[in-house]
């Protein structure tokens, strides 16, 4: 899993000020599932999965996802935000091992 933590962001190419823009984001991450032993008991360990996704635009948090292991491998999230000013849109993915992966898209108006 050399690609772990790779973030992809897709933002529409032409945005006008005031538009509500839909963004798609994806991160390469294994999202480990709960494992059980032969008796069906859960093996207690610190599973590595993403438990928080934070979207900030112009430095302000717009959307936050609190997630569990029930989100698929290589999680994909989409959301919207209102484009008011040019600036960075940042998506941060935090996992349970302290990993922090982020992707930034520059929002600009043509």
């Amino acid at each position: 899993m050399a690609d772990i933590g790779k973030v992809r962001l897709r933002v529409p190419s032409s945005i006008k000020p005031g538009d509500v823009v839909q963004v798609r984001s994806l991160v390469i991450h294994p999202m480990e599932r709960i494992e059980r032993d032969a008796q069906g008991k859960i093996i207690q360990r610190n599973y590595n999965y993403i438990n928080k996704v934070i979207v900030t635009y112009l430095g302000k948090t717009v959307v936050t996802f609190d997630t569990t292991q029930n989100v698929a491998e290589n999680p994909f999230f989409s959301f919207t935000f209102k484009a008011t000013d040019p600036g960075p849109l940042k998506v941060q993915f935090l996992d349970t091992t302290g990993g922090r992966y982020e992707g930034t898209a520059d929002i600009k108006f043509l």
Partner: protein, 165 residues
């Protein structure tokens, strides 16, 4: 000691639940102890317990008029099931959609994701790929800024379960 015995199971669960929600609320403190993190969105509870913990028995109204839950009726592969939720609602600081929960009834961890939205999101829309362990209802629950709870349910048939374990 008798006091401890008198404390009902429900009271204990509620106390624990409140702690869990608080831990999520303060989740930006990234260095919270690992156990607290694991507790934040709890594992291995029935969907009824999960609902009670999240909403404390508040009435949840049917929201089929406002909420659009988009999910395949038959998911061939439970490991990746695209879900999207959009809500017809104004997104102004006075009235907006605060949280969208995606809950899969039959999963061992029923609460799949809890999304916190700000008015700046412009529209109450989220999409995610989730896992489904077996066929069952998928719910989208919407909490508005005034505390109103709305939900829609949809049954999804899963051919191959995707939660493992």
């Amino acid at each position: 000691m008798t006091d401890g015995h008198l404390m009902s199971r429900r009271a204990v669960l509620q106390a624990l639940g409140a702690f869990g929600v608080a831990a999520v609320g303060g989740g930006l403190v990234a260095v919270a102890p690992k156990m607290a993190q694991a507790q934040a969105l709890r594992q291995n509870e029935s969907v009824e317990d999960a609902m009670r913990r999240l909403f404390g028995g508040k009435a949840i109204k049917g929201g089929s008029a406002a909420i659009k839950l988009d999910v395949a009726l038959i998911a061939e592969n439970g490991a990746v099931v695209p879900v999207s939720v959009s809500v017809e609602s104004p997104m102004t600081p006075a009235s907006y959609v605060k949280h969208i929960y995606v809950v899969a009834d039959k999963n061992r961890i029923p609460v799949v994701t809890r999304v916190t939205l700000e008015p700046e999101a412009g529209r109450a829309f989220i999409g995610a790929n989730i896992r489904l362990g077996e066929s069952g209802d998928v719910r989208a629950i919407v909490e508005q800024s005034d505390g109103t709870l709305l939900q829609v349910k949809r049954e999804v048939k899963v051919t191959v379960g995707g939660c493992g374990g």
